[in-house]
Subunit: 159 residues, 2 copies
C-alpha cells in the first residue's frame, strides 16, 4: 500500500450520526446493501477530495482546486451521512463487505460527538480554503484528518 | 429492476468536462482504476441524493432533506468531475467496468455543453430547494434529470 493509498484509506471513513431522517425515505426504504453502497461511495468521494487537497499541499498549491475539494468535503459532512447507517446496516455488502464495527450502532453519544467534530473541522477547512493561505489550510487539514482517524480507530475495522 | 433502481441508474451518470486540472495531481498521478472508482462513487452519491429528493416529492415533503440533497448534487456538479475522466480512463475497472463510451473522450465540445447544462440546472435546483416550494422543486428536478439523461444517451453504455 503506497502513501497515497494509505492516505485515502485514512480519509475514506468518517464519523456519522445515527439519527436517520426517515421521513423522506418512507416511500422507498432503500435496502441495507444500497445504504452501505452509498456510504462507501460517499467516503470514496471524501477520500478523492482529501487527496486533491493533499496533492496541492505537497506540490504546487492550487487555491481553486483546494477550495472546491474542501467545499465538497464540508457539504458531504453536513448532508446527513448518518442516515446511511440505519439499523440493519451493521453487516452486509455494498461495493464490498462493510467495515463498520457494531459499536457504531450502540455508542450513539460518542458517534454523535465525533460526527459533530468532523462537520466542524470540515466547515472550518472550507472557510479557510477560500482565503488561499496554504499554511493555514495545512494546519486545518491536519485537524480534519484527526477527526477521521478518531472515528476509524473506534468504529471501523481495518481491512 | 424496480422503479427506485431505474431512477438511480438514470441519475447515476452525468455530464462531465474533459478539462483536467492536472496541477494538483502532478505529485500523485492517480491510476486510471482509481479515477474510475472515484467517478463511479461520485455518481452513486448523486444517485443517493436524487433519490432523497424523489422520495420527498413522492411522499411527505421534507424541505430540509431536499435542500441538503440538492445542495450536495450542486456541489458535486461543480467540483470538477471532469478531472475523473482523464485520458486513459476510457476502459478499466473501478468498482466495476466503466460504462463510459469512447465518444466522451473525443466529443469535447458536446460534453462540455452537457456538463455546463448539468451544473446550471443543479445550481438552480439548489437555489429553489432553499425556498421549499415542492411544485417548483418538482419542475426543476425534472429539468435536472433531463440533463442526466442527455449525457447518458450519448456517452454511457447501458449495462
Amino acid at each position: 500500500m503506497n502513501h497515497s493509498t494509505r492516505f485515502l484509506f485514512a480519509s475514506s471513513l468518517v464519523a456519522a450520526v445515527l439519527v436517520a431522517s426517515t421521513a423522506a425515505w418512507s416511500q422507498q426504504s432503500p435496502k441495507p446493501e444500497q445504504l452501505i453502497k452509498w456510504r462507501q461511495s460517499a467516503y470514496q468521494v471524501i477520500g478523492w477530495n482529501s487527496g486533491r487537497i493533499k496533492a496541492s499541499l505537497d506540490g504546487t498549491y492550487n487555491k481553486d482546486e483546494v477550495a472546491k475539494a474542501a467545499n465538497t468535503i464540508a457539504v458531504l459532512a453536513n448532508t446527513g451521512l448518518g442516515t446511511l447507517f440505519a439499523p440493519g446496516t451493521d453487516t452486509g455488502k455494498g461495493w464490498h463487505d462493510t467495515t463498520v464495527k457494531p459499536a457504531l450502532f450502540t455508542e450513539t453519544a460518542r458517534v454523535g460527538e465525533l460526527s459533530a467534530n468532523f462537520s466542524k473541522e470540515a466547515n472550518e477547512l472550507a472557510r479557510i480554503a477560500q482565503a488561499g493561505d496554504a499554511a493555514a489550510v495545512k494546519e486545518q487539514f491536519g485537524k480534519l484528518n484527526r477527526t477521521c482517524k478518531g472515528c476509524h480507530d473506534d468504529f471501523r475495522n481495518s481491512n
